[in-house]
Symmetry: C2
Subunit: 213 residues, 2 copies
Amino acid sequence: MKLQIAMDTLSGAEVLHLLERVHDVVDIVEIGTPLILREGLAPVRAVKERYPGLTVLADTKIVDGGRLECGDAVAAGADIVTVLAAADDATIQDVITAAHEKSRFVMVDLIGRADIAKRAEELLALDADFICVHTGVDAQKSGRTPLGDLKTLVAAIPPECAAVAGGVSPASVRQYAVLHPGIIIAGGALTGAQDPRAAAAAMRTVLKEEERA
Amino acid sequence: MKLQIAMDTLSGAEVLHLLERVHDVVDIVEIGTPLILREGLAPVRAVKERYPGLTVLADTKIVDGGRLECGDAVAAGADIVTVLAAADDATIQDVITAAHEKSRFVMVDLIGRADIAKRAEELLALDADFICVHTGVDAQKSGRTPLGDLKTLVAAIPPECAAVAGGVSPASVRQYAVLHPGIIIAGGALTGAQDPRAAAAAMRTVLKEEERA
């Protein structure tokens, strides 16, 4: 299980600053959608230049122009690119082809989809590398979590291809880790923590414990 | 009917260069999703600074973090912000609230949705300003056009709230204009034309003719 830290509300400069403290206690650094909206792919490029060995995910949430947008993200240094499950299969296929040509990976985001098991099987058939259940920050406000969706997902596909995002925190991470998804994503619970390094290390410890369990 | 030019494959600098030639023959300038992915909101800011009176649409395709992302786009100068119909209603509501607080507008993009009439009615109830049927560039490759979807849309909502995108060109624009949508969007057919000014002026002439018809 890998721990992914999502950088959504920080600036590119703040991301570099935070990474000085946490780069060795996380597995994947996500340049989040709101940050890409504000600054484009520059933060992807900056993080990859500073930490060439770190896995960088660009949360592009592609929904059209698959080859163009994925190609740009890969050229900026993204190791993993995201596409929405809501996109046309032609778009998803183009993103996967463009990423795999350069030996990069694709995460498909199921945000907003109700047909998790059926869509996940279709996405796996399209050769997606990771499929992510995702309760958005706006949906979280009404108390929703992605736990039930993750249970559905790991019953439908190999758990190592599953990812989960949506309010996961040091307090709740074990509930997710017992399901053994390939990637667990945490955002505000890490970037907003008093001690982000300690919070990330604590989450990673839980992942390691559950891997051995 | 308004003519919107979508700037997808150009750089921010190229957009400014093209606008010197076409700014007075289009109604709305769209900073396209691929351009935002590459450069963030900087091109929105640059166009609005150079042409304060021109309506600028930021094709943000928001799917989560509605208040944050819409707020950033509005702060950069966007007059119209886009959100996906696939997003959670909580997100769409937040985008609309954030935009209307600043007297800006929201276009909801139906890309990938099959339930056009039903979803459009829901979106109108959420107070969306424009609802767009959209055949993506990847879906266009298999010959699809948004004409049938636009017919469905204008039968379900007031036509002035309807928008259409997906391969519309000077050759095909009249088929769309006879349906009197509020906004007709053209991208590559204008930005890739030998003479973009002549192509835009020709399309706008058709819109005016059909308005009078």
